[in-house]
Symmetry: C2
């Protein structure tokens, strides 16, 4: 492979999170789904927001969260995703660039507003996400910069992109560019409902185009339609180069051909908000992977980042992940 | 006095805070002022925001923060302040209403954007605020609903309103309506630079129209142009019905005619961000004052609220202040 300018290029839905702490009754009353992401239309977004407690706005988006984490580890990241030309779009772009991620996708003019995700965080920290996709779903193939894909060691795609046709075409285009340039393709399954919505497409994709697959236990089981975790693991082992499966407080299992690594979760004093746990695991893992680290090092970087993110509200790191890795004695290979 | 619908009506600049943790070098490099608020124009707002680290957006505005606190104590609050018809304006309105505050000021159409305050929080927690006033300064006399002033026991005005002519006229109008209806007028001096900008006007106002004055030690000394705190206290005692003076970790001194109460600060494990300390002291104090509580009870409610706000990022309470008051054994009189 020729040299790259970026370790990881993320492609995803560009979203600003609207976060609020709620009680259990709020989850029930508004029929929200914990540990999951529901797509909502503008009308539902308006009525749910009206019912929302006082909130804070923090830039989000699954792959964008991962890229912010990758930059916090000191790795080189870029991002493609669509905001509108509005205040929340400006906030999203600012926060990503300020985190050290290259981001130049042209904002959407004259269409829907920047995407928002209304996130209700109940006392048990298992967040319920409700996304109005807005401008983010209107990213299209023209937004995928082929030179940028060529210049990136890994192109990282989020499964959520499959939820709208334009974004899905952009997703496929990015994967094609990466393969043509002999770069690696990583995919996160994103969410169990997302897997259920797109199982067949994901199966094809994993088998034919994905080098590194991220999933949690429930998503992996759903992908292979089995209740048997070991059976699902055997299936994915046969179909991808690397699969990294997260299991909440049980840590992560990583399989690659005949190799396997199991990494315990980082102990966390108090789990405040699980938003972004998977995104940040991927951030750590991909930081190591893009630099050629072994499976266990990749996994350890993943759990370090996930442990940081669940200890506070929001899905962007609040301290330097490079410092946390250094403190934990995990070395990140040079670019 | 006839019965009122609201304990406190706040009138102030409607602002969304953009908060980020920074290092000391950031404060120096960008010539920011700790413990103070600087007014910045749109150009400076744009360049400073570009230099800002990843941030979070939380509704702010001095009097609006106070009203959110008043509602959190379970008291009845209303607010007048101007946002634009844009996303951050929607966020501001949502958060205030969701906090339980009545808020119906018509958004500004076709003018500048909703006001933003770029707040840099250094490791010592002494925030540097930088405000682009935008739409907030274009509140005018027509926005002051006379019936609302009449319906409120106390009308609470922030000194920051004096920074622009339109808002200043609205301020004066609100004070006139309150006096005509035999209601109480409270004023916060807001900021030492604000006092320096408007010392003569504030002196006139305090002497002729203000029942309850809020100031910190530096602001009070500046108002009376003396380095002697006791002399400043003697001056304000002669000129207002009640003056509540905050002194950071030394707590608060409240004077009213011959009466005086001194209240120690609430012990706080770690001071994270001093944004809103004065606003929330006023929230507690006014909650008590509007209900006819004694000076010491008012002061104790003030330090309870201030202690909560400085223990986290942002200037809106994160837990129920009514619960904190109950735990501290401070009873809030019924409406």
């Amino acid at each position: 492979m020729t040299e790259t300018r970026y370790d990881v290029l993320g492609v995803g839905n560009a979203i600003v999170d609207v976060l609020a702490q709620v009680d259990e009754a709020f989850i029930t009353t508004h029929e929200l789904a914990k540990d999951a992401m529901l797509l909502i239309d503008e009308e539902r977004a308006t009525s749910l927001y009206a019912a929302f407690p006082p909130s804070e706005e923090i830039s989000g988006g699954s792959a964008a969260n991962s890229l912010a984490g990758i930059a916090s580890f000191g790795a080189r990241g870029a991002y493609i995703g669509k905001v509108a030309n509005d205040q929340l779009g400006e906030v999203f772009a600012h926060d990503l660039r300020a985190a050290g991620v290259a981001y130049d996708t042209a904002p959407l003019e004259g269409g829907p507003a920047t995407a928002r995700c209304l996130i209700a965080v109940p006392p048990d920290a298992r967040r319920a996400m409700n996304t109005f996709l807005g401008a983010s779903a209107l990213m299209d193939e023209a937004d995928i910069d082929q030179d940028l894909v060529r210049a990136s060691t890994v192109t990282f795609l989020e499964g959520y992109l499959f939820d709208r046709e334009e974004a899905k075409r952009a997703f496929v285009r990015a994967a094609e560019y990466a393969r043509a340039a002999d770069r690696r393709v990583a995919l996160t399954l994103s969410d169990i409902f997302c897997v259920e919505r797109h199982r067949d497409s994901f199966r094809q994709l994993v088998k034919n185009h994905v080098d590194v697959l991220f999933a949690n236990e429930a998503e992996l089981k759903s992908l292979y339609e089995t209740e048997d975790f070991d059976a699902a693991l055997a299936s994915v082992r046969a179909e991808t180069r690397v699969a990294a499966v997260t299991r909440s407080e049980k840590g992560a299992v990583i399989v690659s051909g005949d190799d396997e690594a199991r990494v315990p979760a980082t102990p966390v004093e108090k789990v405040v908000d699980t938003t972004g746990a998977g995104d940040l695991f991927a951030a750590g893992f991909l930081t190591g992977y893009a630099r050629g680290a072994g499976l266990e090092t990749c996994g350890r970087l993943g759990v370090i980042a996930a442990g940081e993110i669940i200890s506070h509200m929001g899905a962007r790191p609040q301290v330097s992940l490079a410092d946390l890795a250094a403190k934990a004695g995990v070395a990140i290979p040079a670019a």
